[in-house]
Symmetry: C2
Subunit: 498 residues, 2 copies
């Protein structure tokens, strides 16, 4: 009796007969899987794509369809808006964003090829209006293209890398262009002749010694055995798998709004079952959409001790991720009458206290005297001089908070809307080859997207569009590599081995 | 040609001949390996213990030989010193210390059996003088026994669990009793007839399907094949493996003083290679010995923004772990003339600034006005009332810092002495069975100590003696379980299968 699971590959010797034979098997039909399948097919491989849901999508289709692009003098959209960009600035920003173990090879490669990747996306039919929307926004409410989508203009990034806006959003009226992006990619995938199998849940890898030689897939309630010269895991992260979150990323446990569809970690587990290394599994992106309307950025955040903890002009997700690090179960955004605006309902941010003085707000929140009020006093003193020597918030966002009444807007865990997804996953080369714990490739196995630890490797450095940049670009690389590996195996006749 | 490594088990079918056959193979001769081997041998198993170094030791021998013990009314040492303790208080404390994914089953079992474990240790010949040393110390400079070794009296622990001192230190003059503890365990191990093989480096597990059936061990520069009904991994953590630290625990990268001998993560990697789950790999213990002399505890810590970040009367390791979370590359301990004392040389703590006023200290450190000085002012205001409403430092440690001159003692990374070791590792049942990523046991595989994620699961909750409690107690359990598993296999005749 064969015994296989996400945790245990099936030895090829126990496969009685192959139900499906293909060159490249791709698992997961989000953006990374679509791009991998597409490039593998264009590379001459027979490609079969398995998706557990009834259609394409994944977390990519739940996104805004925004991709982090720049470098090399700038895209035509950046240039039309008056910005220049450099490959070095992009690479530097990506490496800072990646944290202490940033994947330098991926950052450098992406920075070098980002412009040509933009051309590729357009060649697939992804439309861009070509227009820039200034200010700090989460996604355009319109069908415009370019936004500031990260911390480029904020300290410490601004001090190290020349800032440029790099969030390129698919032309789509309102939020949610990710679905349109995946639809366009799907159209290309089908035109390229990829054999798409939906409602097809992958149960296990099949291995021949150290080599991955296929998959077991449940289709129509029957286990099918798939032989593939190369397998590409594009199954997303594990934000929908509570047991994995608890064991690997307990920092997410107080957050309630995963961005995922079937992001159950299955591909990460399968990759590990074949010896693949999973790294930085504790890392996650989170954000609460607290910057809408934009005037709120002129407020200051304090933690449960009344202390500021970051320059609030950073990317909203960087600020939110740092909120989650604070002691206690809530933080407050302090605003005065001049900048007050009601946060969008989605954010689930309540007004916790209102007062004619900051001392009154402090007291209403139950804080000891000389905490929150002292923090505001010090902030105001320097803001009046147009500077923030403590957290380096840029002058354009500084406002003396001295126009009563004053309010504390409360962000709580759980309670407020903190979306999140995981950033840890399989260790891969830029080529998509999955690496084992000794740093050697697992033969026959590739991966891309949030099933890997890629460009967006640290929740504190994340910027909007980084994950889709990683999914689409390194999805393509993985597909190319898988097709090449299949060609080599064909040439060597190894395909006949199993 | 066989291809095996820490990352890839050798299939038993590829073993031409077994060089060594045993019931229970134990890997690693620190405290957990010694206890596992001992109980397995006493359980009737033939036991072979493999150690890569030339003798016993491991990180256990680099420790103070202190074990966290209590509950059940208290040990006779606790009672003689006037303390009572309860199993519930101990279990509650351990669970709080374990963080959001504390291993409740291990905490409850250890709390229930802690007193009998103390009796067992004494029965092995581990000497305890039976005396209590009051105050906040790291280890007794004398041969005394009992100390406050954690955060029991500090908020928030004190509010949830009745405090008692639980650090029981082996009778040994000065620091470093861990070597003596391991020597005593080794004597028992040898008397119990365990076959001890030193200079024996384990290279890979041997598997038969999902079952671990032995090991490959390098002895005298030759690979030996060891058949074992049960294998117990007691190889310690990975603080000496830079590549693993980078991939799994990058929070340690700014620390320079690992406590390890051969803690290279090899056992964790081997366990994963057989399907074992490794969890909470980002967690680590760290401490800087800043509490010597004790008067320094009356100082207050501020971060690079001049903010306090914890009640300084917590366990020195909890305070140190929280230091590492702070923004920037240093923190300062603020003291006045009344409590000033030069920190011990080992700590590598410098005096960064001295002033007649806190404003002068603030300026000398390059901090903006109204930051550090404001923090001290607020602290002093409440300390004068005998309370700390912001961080809940206990009244006995509160001192108004108003006796000039004032000083800022600087703790830097890197620079100051921050010892550290890793806390993440294989997922195990209290029995020591290694669990796979689906939560099922890996047949034939057991583990204990810092190769596992055990009682001390969170660096923020660690208390001295928790790791040795975990190593010795769950080492014993793993040895008992391995011997039982070997007996069952013998009864079933499965041993003849390979």
């Amino acid at each position: 009796m064969s015994d296989y699971s996400l945790h245990r590959p099936l030895p090829a010797s126990e496969v009685a007969a192959w139900d499906i034979e293909t060159d490249v098997a791709v698992v997961g039909f989000g953006a990374s899987g679509a791009c991998a399948a597409l490039e593998a097919a264009r590379g001459g491989a027979r490609v079969t794509l398995f998706e557990m849901a009834s259609g394409s999508g994944g977390a990519s289709a739940l996104s805004g369809g925004e991709i982090y692009i720049g470098g090399g003098g700038g895209t035509e959209v950046q240039r039309a808006a008056g910005f220049t960009d450099s490959t070095n600035a992009l690479a530097t920003y990506l490496k800072m964003a990646g944290g202490p173990d940033a994947d330098s090879a991926k950052c450098d490669l992406y920075a070098a090829e980002s412009l040509s990747h933009f051309e590729w996306l357009k060649a697939q039919g992804v439309p861009y209006k070509g227009t820039f929307v200034p200010g700090k926004i989460i996604e355009p409410a319109t069908d415009d293209t370019l936004i500031w989508s990260g911390s480029e203009e904020a300290w410490p990034y601004s001090a190290a890398a020349a800032p440029a806006p790099r969030g390129h959003v698919i032309q789509f009226e309102g939020w949610g262009g990710g679905r349109k992006l995946v639809d366009i990619l799907e159209r290309n995938v089908r035109e390229a002749g990829v054999d798409v199998r939906t409602d097809a849940r992958v149960l296990a890898l099949v291995t021949d010694g150290p080599r991955v030689v296929g998959l077991v897939v449940r289709i129509d309630n029957r286990d099918r055995f798939v032989r593939a010269a190369a397998t590409v895991i594009c199954t997303g992260g594990f934000c929908m798998n509570d047991a994995m979150l608890r064991r690997y990323a307990p920092g997410t446990l107080k957050l309630t709004d995963p961005i995922g569809e079937n992001d159950n970690g299955s591909g990460i587990l399968m990759g590990m079952s074949a010896g693949g290394d999973a790294i930085h599994m504790d890392e996650f992106f989170t954000t609460c959409p607290w910057i809408m309307p934009e005037s709120l950025v002129k407020g200051i955040f304090v933690n449960s001790r009344g202390q500021r903890f970051i320059n609030e002009d950073c990317y909203h997700g960087r600020v939110s991720r740092t909120m989650v690090d604070q002691p206690g179960d809530r933080v407050w955004l302090l605003v005065d009458n001049a900048i007050f605006a009601r946060p969008i309902d989605l954010a689930r941010i309540d007004i916790a206290a209102v007062g004619e003085t900051w001392e009154e707000v402090e007291r209403d929140l139950g804080l000891p005297e000389e905490t929150l009020a002292a923090t505001v006093q010090t902030f105001n003193r320097y803001a009046a001089e147009g500077r923030d020597p403590i957290w380096q918030k840029a002058a354009k966002w500084l406002k003396v908070l001295d126009d009563p009444p004053f309010a504390a807007l409360e962000l709580r865990y759980p309670g407020s809307y903190f979306s999140f997804f995981t950033l840890g996953g399989l260790s891969t080369r830029p080529s998509g080859e999955v690496l084992d714990r000794g740093g050697a490739p697992v033969p026959g196995l590739f991966a891309a997207g949030r099933a890997t630890s890629g460009l967006p490797r640290s929740g504190h450095g994340y910027s909007s569009g980084m994950s889709l940049a990683d999914c689409t670009f390194f999805g393509r690389k993985a597909g190319e590599s898988a097709a090449a590996a299949a060609r080599i195996m064909q040439a060597e006749g190894i395909r006949e081995l199993a």
